[in-house]
């Protein structure tokens, strides 16, 4: 950083001088010492104001209760964010037959089923995938299913 540069108007030069003073002042405050030397100071009134603000403007800290409550909430969000890294939880689209698997491969229409995603755990996703695989290999044999199949068979295609 350099001092006054030709072409800059008075305000910018004054602002630059003030900025250099503040650098030294705040660095000195951080060290707990008096202000450090600066090559060129702003006028006394401005320097007094800067000194006063550096000394008098309070810093605030939220309550301990708030701090810990927010820490807990962030921790909860963070743990949910870690789940997508687990296998399957990023969302798995599994084609699921509309008809019963026992109806054979010619079943009418297929719609995707989303298993997993942000609201489900990896364990649930894996359980869902396992369920679909199980259903694909095992015909349903409940009375309602058998009745529905019987009705379907009586209808013309």
């Amino acid at each position: 950083m350099t001092g006054a540069t030709p072409g800059r108007d008075g305000h910018e030069v004054e602002a630059l001088v003030t900025d250099r003073y503040l650098e030294a002042l705040l660095a000195a405050h951080a060290r707990g010492a008096d202000r450090g030397p600066t090559p060129r100071d702003p006028d006394d009134a401005l320097r007094r104001t800067a000194d006063r603000l550096a000394r008098d403007l309070p810093r605030f800290h939220p309550s301990f209760v708030f701090e810990e409550a927010l820490a807990a909430r962030l921790g909860s969000v963070a743990s949910r964010m870690r789940m997508p890294a687990a296998a399957g939880a990023e969302g798995l689209i599994v084609p699921l037959p509309v008809g019963d698997p026992g109806d054979g491969p010619g079943g009418s229409g297929r719609r995707p089923l989303l298993i997993g995603g942000a609201l489900t755990s990896a364990a649930l996703s894996l359980a869902g995938a396992a369920y679909v695989a199980w259903r694909l290999n095992r015909p349903a044999a409940g009375p309602m299913v058998r009745a529905a199949r019987a009705v379907a068979r009586t209808r013309p295609v």
Partner: protein, 208 residues
């Protein structure tokens, strides 16, 4: 204050390797990006700074807490998209993470202010109370000085007050403030200089 960190980078077009200033929060940020649970270290480090900024802007503890909460939640959920962009010109200890975090805080505060303006029953001026801020001061004269400084800063136009708070309370460099406010460094220097002049006149005014 944390020591600045440097690394060697190969820049053939600039005549070989040179030192590049790194974000002083780089290690913490990388750890948090790899494991979001490690974000807590960044949260503890910057909580008071973000909260102070929000409190000076909103002048109400509850509103400041709300803006602080939104800021850190947004920072956590968007941290994977954060990219370090520290430059040597940013100065010692410059933290691009801090600039990024305060950009989020600035937006959170602006949103709260818009909400408060839509609810005239909770005006900003009434919400602000310096008493809570200076109750910790036992000396009456000192208490008055703190209250006067607080009030004078509160009467500044928004952009000047913001720049002054980031400079004096959060102790940011001009380059960092420029990053937070989206202004040039020259514009920030002028803002702060004019803000100091305004506060000086305010504090010298016997009618105040």
């Amino acid at each position: 204050m944390a020591r600045p960190a440097f690394r060697n980078v190969d820049r053939p077009e600039e005549g070989g390797p040179r030192l590049v200033h790194l974000d002083r929060d780089r290690r913490l940020v990388e750890e948090a990006q790899a494991d979001p649970a490690r974000f807590e270290a960044l949260y503890r480090k910057y909580l008071a700074q973000v909260y102070s900024y929000a409190f000076y802007e909103l002048r109400d503890h509850h509103e400041a807490e709300d803006a602080t909460e939104r800021t850190f939640l947004a920072a956590l959920t968007n941290l994977v998209r954060f990219e370090e962009r520290a430059r040597p010109a940013d100065g010692e200890g410059a933290s691009t993470f801090r600039v990024w975090l305060f950009q989020i805080a600035r937006n959170a505060v602006a949103e709260r202010r818009r909400t408060l303006r839509r609810r005239p029953e909770a005006p900003l001026e009434a919400a602000g109370s310096v008493a809570g801020a200076v109750d910790i001061e036992r000396d009456a004269a000192r208490k008055d000085e703190v209250a006067a400084a607080w009030s004078a800063v509160g009467r500044l136009p928004d952009d000047r007050r913001r720049a002054l708070i980031l400079r004096f309370v959060d102790e940011m460099s001009t380059a960092e403030i420029a990053g937070v406010l989206g202004r040039s460094e020259g514009a920030v220097r002028v803002l702060i200089h004019r803000a100091l002049r305004s506060v000086q006149r305010d504090l010298d005014d016997p009618s105040r």
